[in-house]
Amino acid sequence: MSALTMSGDFGLEKPVDRSTTSPPVAEAVAEPAKERTMEKVATRPVAETGTPLGERLAAFGRAVLPPVLGLVVLIGLWHVATHKGGSIPGPAQVWDAAVALFSDPFYRNGPNDQGIGWNVLSSLQRVGIGFGLAALVGIPLGFMLGRFAFLSSMVNPVISLLRPVSPLAWLPIGLLVFKKADPAATWTIFICSIWPMIMNTAQGVQRVPQDYLNVARVLALSEWKIVTRILFPAVLPYMLTGIRLSIGTAWLVIVAAEMLTGGVGIGFWVWDEWNNLKVEHIIIAIFVIGVVGLILEQALILLARKLTKESS
């Protein structure tokens, strides 16, 4: 539930100082999650301390009931829409197929027929590599763009031009350069993850309070100390926001990229099951992709909360 509201927040971003950056840049720059998580920490204990059992149950109900109801309504609608038969399987059929599928998620029958576990893992591996490389390049680049105005006005138009391009448009270039499907898919992940990382890091660096920089000047701190003690901690919440946006996009893009490149991966698996006309498996894949995306997002929110708590 909270993941749903979190991702919902990105649609309703607060207008953050749009004057300081060109409009396309500002779109992907969300406020760091810090304030939000702080609110949560502050409001949570109310229901848990020393209140009577009835009230606690009621609070629990208020927290759990709506999401459960939402899922029930979804499955109910799905059932109603499919119970007369047709090409889309109903919830019961999908459930049976899922039980069979998850009873052996890690089998291997040759390169094109592997368990769903392997498919998810190889997708995650591609996302991990592409995303990791993007972080290695994007975060230092973001620091430099935030630090040097000239560089920033030099590179910003290029970023504005390239950012709206669907990462899949880069896939043929990847295929051409790497001559193989696998690195080409990783390459598309790299491309789509790098923009939010660059922009949020740069934004964070630009917003380091002047007071802290004055402290650095009065103490005459070395450049290394300035980076480790002042810039990095001040930029961290922004960086984590960039990382969260990146990984969300990367997980969206990998499915499409794998449909095009083939091999092993959840996207390829969806396409393969479509060719086999196993529609139950496609629906299962949709749920699996959703759950993995949710877990990735939640893990990063947890990480952000832990790190910013330490540094705030």
Partner: protein, 266 residues
């Protein structure tokens, strides 16, 4: 009398969208070693600008500033600043905030144990031993400002510069910190320049009060020698005729001599 900080024919002009803005002109001031100077004036009179010039955070358009015989060409730890809004780094504990300064100044000569000892001593000086391992957001505004003072003092600066250090605090906390500051300055014989808009604070703490005319193109209007014996007690001073006269002199400058200029400017 030892000339310690010399400000000679200093002026500061800013380039704005509407053209040049003269903030300060013709500032001449010599500060003795161990002296406590208060800079007072209406808001916008350039007193913070003058402090920034002494700290080296800004450089003058004309004239020259010297500290201990050397030209001030930039900020440095021998001129420590206590900022108006404390400016502690929120991701470091009070101890680590002070340690950052201590480490910078003394790590070349002293071992880690000695550096920690210095840090603890500075925190002890402002009476915050118990809050040493707390983060800035866990302590009150007055305590944060004390950590800021500890950080500045820990560097054993030649000059201590304070920009309305108690401006954001309530009256009771402010009085307590003023008393503490007086004790610290007497103990360390620190040369101090403090920007303030509080007349009582200025008279209580200073050896000399530098009163600035209203901006734009502000300059030094009058300098008042405060010849009250130390240690000073705020309660006894409240009835001291000399104290009352000094206070009246500053008020007169601010609200009679400089008041009409403000009206004209407005």
């Amino acid at each position: 009398m030892e000339k310690f900080v010399q400000i000679e024919k200093v002026g500061q002009t800013f380039d704005t969208k509407k053209g040049k803005f003269v903030a300060l002109r013709d500032i001449d001031l010599t500060i003795r070693k161990g002296e406590f100077i208060a800079l007072i004036g209406h808001s916008g009179c350039g007193k913070s600008t003058l402090l920034n010039l002494i700290s080296g955070l800004a450089l003058p358009t004309t004239g020259v500033l010297l500290c201990d015989g050397r030209e001030i060409a930039g900020p440095g730890p021998e001129r420590a600043v206590v900022f108006q809004n404390h400016s502690l780094l929120p991701w470091l504990t009070c101890f680590e905030n002070v340690y950052l300064a201590v480490e910078r100044v003394f790590s070349g000569r002293e071992g880690k144990a000695k550096l920690k000892e210095r840090t603890a001593a500075a925190i002890g000086l402002v009476g915050l031993d118990h809050a040493s391992s707390k983060y800035p957001h866990e302590i009150s505004g007055g305590m944060k400002q004390r950590v800021g003072i500890a950080r500045a003092l820990s560097m054993e600066p030649k000059v201590l510069l304070m920009d309305e250090p108690f401006g954001a605090l309530d009256a009771l906390t402010r009085a307590r910190l003023q008393d503490e500051l007086m004790k610290i300055c007497e103990a360390t014989r620190a040369t101090t320049v403090m920007v303030t808009h509080d007349v009582d604070e200025a008279v209580l703490l200073s050896d000399r009060i530098v009163m600035m005319t209203n901006g734009p193109a502000a300059t030094i209007g009058e300098i008042l020698e405060v010849d009250l014996p130390r240690p000073r007690q705020r309660l006894t001073l409240a009835h001291d005729p000399a104290y009352i006269d000094y206070r009246a002199a500053v008020l007169e400058f601010l609200y009679e001599k400089q008041a009409h200029v403000e009206k004209m400017a407005a």
